[in-house]
């Protein structure tokens, strides 16, 4: 088990390899379809994404009526492949060093990871409750006009459990498992 602590750096990220089980602590930002689309359209992000991690997640967030404080009640990852056309651009233009999601991503993202120094962390799909428990506070919210699940939520997490499935050296567990299972399947057909 490895630990990754905020502030994140290119150097730390480059040390991570496919198959590493990692606990992330510190700040992460949510961002899914609408955020990526807007960034792609050329709108500047409302927060500095340099050396930050983006989490593909549409959290369920409740706001306390009196204190106005936000609380995340469910926060599992959403399918990442939908951001495949845009993710590498966000790496190139804004310097993110990590993406958290589920299901893995394709060759464009893998190339981006290698070129710009980024990794893909796979969270456990469906584990909404366990992952929500790891979110200690909501620090801010931006682009709420996109709707709550699509907004950019700034979250403080502690020991957020993920697995590196795409690293910054061209390694992709998804590509490996896909090709090994394909080969094995031939024998069973």
């Amino acid at each position: 088990m490895k630990r990754l602590q905020y502030p994140f750096s290119q150097e730390e990220i480059r040390k991570l390899k496919v198959g590493d089980m990692v606990l992330i602590s510190g700040k992460i930002y949510t961002g899914r379809d609408a955020v990526h689309k807007r960034l792609h359209e050329g709108v500047k992000p409302p927060v500095d994404l340099k050396n930050q991690i983006i989490y593909h997640c549409g959290p369920v967030v409740l706001q306390d009526k009196k204190t106005k404080k936000y609380e995340v009640t469910a926060a599992g990852p959403t399918t990442s492949i939908r951001e495949e056309p845009y993710q590498w651009e966000v790496m190139r233009d804004y310097g993110i060093v990590g993406v958290i999601g589920k299901g893995g991503m394709g060759p464009k993202t893998l190339d981006g990871c290698k070129q710009y120094g980024c990794v893909y962390f796979h969270a456990i799909g469906g584990a909404a409750q366990v992952l929500a428990e790891k979110i200690k506070s909501v620090e801010s919210v931006n682009w709420l006009d996109l709707g709550s699940p699509e907004a950019i939520w700034e979250l403080m997490v502690e020991d957020f459990p993920v697995v590196v499935t795409m690293d910054s050296h061209g390694g992709s567990l998804h590509a490996d498992v896909d090709s090994s299972s394909k080969t094995l399947l031939k024998d069973f057909m």
Partner: protein, 350 residues
């Protein structure tokens, strides 16, 4: 559950029916003698059962029962599924990413139940299966059901999860054309049985339909061909459907009926045995073979790729041979209730 029982022991069912019929006849004969002894209350109830039908007189009870069904389905994993998940966890090698994933899944199931919160935030397509006596007013029932779905959405048992396909607009109610899906089946019993399945989007996306023969896979119009296309679908799904999952597979039907039936097969208990021997063998073979592919939980690699497989058949046209495959993620949320005559919950089906 008619559907759940359909694949298991038809003979028994027939016998059971006869017995019940006899029993009912007997009861009917005896009834007049006994009647005076009964309290006014029970007589009233009986009268209600005949005149006031499900969804009418006891709307409040029905609403409460349906709301509770939604809450429990969303937050609590049925025993038969929990069992296979724990077995899968035990099978994985220690200190692997597969074991890591299964441990988090296990912890998540426990936490969701404790907090009475959705197991997964994608509360999925809401699919109801209603077995009802012939007297049910489906329109009234549907109205109450919609009220329960709306209340469940407000309470957070269901996420606001149903959007207009053309505009992308989310009314926030989970109610709209085709949603929730309600499948009515009439049965010869006097009570209502309502089952619910919450089927997530990630796993629905990896479902597949094949038309046989399939030249590329060398799959012909026989069970060997069926086996090939199922295995192909599993390999293509990788971990994207939040595996390890369970398959519902329908051989035959038209394209629409095939998919609908493949989901209904997911109402079967995971530990039942297919009454059709050939299909029982195929189900077992699919699970064993899938687990040799090394795809593993979340596609991380590992020993468990599939937790179960349920296969059924519908008649087809001589010209068509479809195999329709529905993939259910590990967050296999389905429950059911048998209702009393007053529409309160008599027992849970899983």
């Amino acid at each position: 559950m008619g559907l759940r029982k359909r694949p298991t022991k038809k003979v028994n069912k027939k016998v059971a029916k006869k017995v019940t019929k006899k029993a009912t006849k007997k009861a009917a004969k005896k009834a007049p003698k006994k009647a005076p002894k009964k309290t006014a209350k029970t007589t009233k109830k009986k009268a209600k059962k005949v005149v006031a039908l499900p969804g009418l007189g006891n709307e409040v009870h029905l609403f409460n029962s349906l709301l509770e069904l939604i809450r429990v389905t969303s937050a609590e994993m049925p025993d038969d599924i929990q069992k296979v998940i724990l077995e899968a966890l035990a099978r994985e090698e220690k200190n692997t990413t597969a074991e890591y994933a299964m441990n988090i899944i296990k912890a998540n199931i426990e936490l969701a139940k404790k907090k009475s919160q959705p197991i997964c935030q994608d509360t999925g397509t809401v699919l109801f299966y209603v077995n009802h006596p012939k007297e049910l007013d489906q329109i009234k029932f549907t109205k109450t059901l919609h009220k329960a779905v709306l209340a469940a959405t407000k309470k957070g048992y269901l996420r606001q999860n149903s959007v207009d396909s053309l505009t992308g607009e989310n009314p926030g109610t989970n109610i709209g054309p085709g949603h929730p899906a309600i499948h009515f089946h009439q049965h010869n019993k006097s009570h209502l049985e309502v089952s619910l399945m919450l089927k997530g989007g990630g796993c629905e996306n990896v479902g597949a339909q094949y038309s046989l023969p399939h030249n590329e896979l060398g799959a012909g119009r026989d069970l060997a061909g069926v086996r090939k296309v199922i295995l192909d679908a599993i390999q293509k799904a990788q971990g994207k459907g939040c595996g390890p999952g369970v398959l519902g597979v329908t051989i035959g039907g038209d394209r629409g009926a095939g998919y609908i039936h493949s989901k209904e097969l997911l109402l079967r208990r995971l530990d039942d045995t297919n009454e059709n021997k050939e299909l029982a063998v195929l189900e077992k073979d699919i699970v064993e073979t899938a687990n040799k592919l090394g795809i593993g939980p979340m596609g991380f690699g590992g020993k468990t790729t599939l937790l179960g497989c349920k296969i059924g058949a519908l008649n087809r046209l001589p010209a068509s041979f479809f195999v329709s495959i529905s993939y259910m993620c590990w967050a296999y949320r389905r429950q059911g209730v048998k209702l009393k005559n007053d529409q309160s919950i008599q027992k849970w089906l899983y």
